[in-house]
């Protein structure tokens, strides 16, 4: 379909800005594997400190890239399926808030005033602009939801008997989760951290801040994943040359994500004090609720791919695997999506380990954790984001892909890189190798008394994987920016692949309306989180003053320094 110039421009910027910043994020990813493997034994390289780079890597790759993309993809799906464009100034307001927020946070990080990592746990204090920037980016990213919901409600009134397109449900579910979970982090940032970072408030309740963060932090994971799920259900079967096995299965799993995405965050705090075991256990069990939509998805997608393979003439039980268009340069999006799925199998399995209280005690905060989430967020999430960014851009701009044969092998290179990288991290994690640590300075420095030789092979593996990943990413940047700077070949249009359903079940009202699901979502959140917030508010003792990463002596709050001056 044809879209307005304004929406075109909006989508270009919302894809171009994060992908440009991603070059910085990827550079710091590579650098970490170099530091950690003990190739260099120093605290900084090229004037950028290890932990500053780690903060940039996390914030850019996991928050900026994913938020910008989710908004651009949301605009595209809503416009494509409803043939109506989102409200123009609402969309641009969202864009400017996100961009200004990103610039503020980027300045604070690059200036070295916010080396607090992307989880910004207090009482490590960052520059106030880092917090403010993060808040603007987040608020900006959920503003379009209101415009999309408005279009949806109007459409539903006109078409009460038509099933809502699956991709639309995916987008609306995703941004509803996002809106709900970001309320907690907005409260953390605006009420707890900002006044404290400005020196107006002397102390902060650290456990409460962490609990608020993880209310947001785990739902964030699904905010990353659901655009990928939407592509898996609505595009992958079509690209494979088949049909979606069941349309209803997609609806059920999307709505289940609405229920289980938020009330599970405490499983990130199994090792925290001041939260009773019962609450941790309850949320730990709810986490396994998320396994249900994941199983449904695994089955439905496998069945869809099998159908596609059989249609292409495969024989035998697993013969369909051999008949899929893996290296077809015209269907490169298939390659990006299937590679993400392969990684997600391992990402899901390692995730089950983390969600189990006892097993988590073995791996919590070790290198195992980044080993796990690089197979999710740097797996299906990242590959679907970069693949779809290229697809949307080249389609809307009417440009041919630059180096199409290179393009189609990028995701496979990436899979090889990630598997080696994550194998190294996971193995190291099982031997106690900590995450978020400049190992090269101490544990991986043979001249240091803390030298730990067991971690040499594990960090070397991670380094090899990191180099392959960086090479794949470099090729992607060449393809993407090569496409961007090439000549326009035809009139551009917004077109998404649309899978038909093999079992296209009749409309079931329960799975075509949001209200009942929103009510259950609310109840589950209250059950899981009222006791958690209550414990986090009441069990801890005094709040903590602010610290900067370089000094064990707290920063004097404004009120106290006044006392000293008198």
């Amino acid at each position: 379909m044809q879209i307005s110039k304004s929406l075109k421009r909006l989508i270009y910027w919302e894809l171009g800005i994060p992908l440009t910043l991603l070059t910085i994020g990827i550079y710091h990813g590579l650098m970490q594997t170099i530091y950690r493997a003990g190739v260099i034994h120093q605290s900084s390289f090229a004037h950028l400190d290890y932990y500053q780079g780690l903060t940039l890597h996390g914030v850019i790759n996991a928050v900026v890239l994913t938020s910008f993309f989710a908004v651009a993809f949301g605009h595209a799906t809503i416009a494509f399926y409803f043939k109506r464009e989102p409200h123009k100034w609402v969309a641009w307001l969202s864009f400017w808030l996100m961009t200004v927020g990103t610039l503020m946070a980027a300045w604070a990080m690059l200036a070295g005033k916010a080396s607090v990592l992307y989880t910004f746990y207090p009482p490590l204090k960052a520059h106030p602009l880092f917090y403010l920037g993060a808040a603007l980016l987040i608020v900006g990213s959920w503003i379009p939801l209101f415009s999309w919901a408005n279009i949806y409600v109007k459409w539903k009134k006109e078409n009460p008997l038509v099933k809502t397109p699956l991709a639309v449900i995916g987008t609306l579910v995703n941004f509803t989760i996002w809106f709900v979970c970001t309320l907690a982090v907005a409260y953390e940032v605006l009420v707890l951290l900002l006044p404290w970072a400005m020196g107006w408030k002397a102390t902060v309740n650290v456990t409460l801040a962490r609990t608020l963060f993880w209310f947001f932090g785990h739902a964030l994971v699904y905010f990353w994943l659901l655009p990928a799920y939407t592509m898996y259900y609505t595009m992958l079967p079509k690209l494979a040359g088949g049909k979606l096995f069941s349309d209803l299965a997609g609806r059920i799993s999307l709505f289940l994500f609405l229920l289980f995405s938020v009330p599970v965050g405490v499983h990130h705090q199994f090792s925290d004090p001041s939260i009773p075991r019962g609450i941790k256990m309850f949320q730990g069990l709810l986490t396994f609720g998320v396994a249900i939509p994941s199983f449904i998805t695994a089955f439905t997608l496998a069945a869809s791919l099998e159908y596609a393979g059989k249609k292409r003439g495969s024989k035998g039980l697993l013969g369909f695997f051999g008949k899929l268009p893996y290296l077809d340069p015209n269907k490169y999006l298939f390659a990006y999506l299937i590679c993400g799925l392969i990684l997600f199998i391992f990402g899901g399995l390692t995730g089950i380990v983390n969600a189990s209280g006892q097993l988590n005690a073995v791996v919590h905060n070790t290198a195992w954790l980044p080993g796990h989430f690089h197979m999710t967020v740097a797996g299906p999430v990242f590959l679907s984001i970069i693949g779809m960014s290229l697809y949307l851009y080249s389609g809307i701009a009417g440009k041919k892909i630059f180096l199409p044969r290179v393009n189609v092998i990028i995701p496979y290179l990436w899979v090889i890189g990630i598997l080696i990288f994550s194998a190294g991290l996971s193995w190291g994690g099982l031997m106690g190798e900590p995450r978020r640590t400049n190992l090269g300075m101490s544990y991986l420095n043979p001249k240091n008394e803390l030298f730990t030789p067991e971690w040499v092979p594990t960090t070397m593996l991670a380094l090899c994987g990191g180099i392959i990943m960086t090479f794949a990413a470099l090729l992607f940047f060449i393809v993407f920016f090569g496409t961007m700077f090439s000549k326009k070949m035809q009139t551009g249009s917004l077109d998404l692949p649309v899978s038909e359903a093999l079992h296209d079940e009749r409309q079931i009202l329960l799975f075509d309306r949001f209200k009942p699901w929103l009510v259950i979502m609310g109840i589950l959140i209250l059950l899981a989180y009222v006791p958690a917030f209550y414990s986090a508010s009441n069990n801890p003792g005094p709040g903590a003053p602010a610290f900067t990463p370089d000094n064990p002596v707290p920063v004097q709050p404004a009120s106290q320094s006044n006392i000293y001056n008198q």
Binding site: P273, A291, N438, H503, F547
Partner: protein, 149 residues
């Protein structure tokens, strides 16, 4: 409903039950999650207390960028209660080979109990980023053969 779908639902249910059973089972058998204790200033004073031959209490204080006490010596077979807190930012406490994993947080007391059944040196590593000296924050538990005592 497609018969394959019905089968897959049954399998999913069985697998999930197995997972949940394992979690609840392991909970009673092995180390449980850390205990939730009310705050008390007394824990801010690092110390090792010997309650009897095989029972010790350690008040572990994490701070930028060291653990105190930095070295804990106990005989084989000892049961040690760790009470953990932080004087400043968030730190992590991981005892290698013992599956002990706790966060040390300002104004909060974390507690777990560990039994050391094999002699050796167990490294305690800070595994949460705590500032520029984070990568050198390590302590150790030395578990001696009982003949020394």
């Amino acid at each position: 409903m497609d018969p394959y779908e019905r089968k897959i639902i049954l399998i999913t249910g069985a697998v999930l039950s197995l997972f949940i059973f394992s979690i609840l089972y392991a909970r009673n058998r092995n180390n449980d999650l850390p205990e939730c204790l009310p705050y008390n200033k007394a824990y801010l004073e690092p110390k090792i207390t010997r309650l009897d031959e095989k029972t010790y209490q350690v008040y572990m204080v994490a701070q930028m960028w060291q653990f105190q006490p930095a070295q804990i010596e106990v005989p084989v077979g000892s049961e040690v209660d760790f009470f953990v807190t932080s004087k400043d930012v968030v730190h992590g406490l991981h005892i290698n080979d013992k599956d002990v994993n706790m966060m040390a947080i300002y104004g909060n007391i974390n507690k777990t109990t560990v039994k050391f059944e094999k002699a050796g040196i167990y490294k305690i590593t800070c595994h949460e980023y705590c500032g520029i000296g984070h990568q050198s924050m390590q302590a150790e538990v030395i578990v001696n053969e009982s003949s020394k005592y």
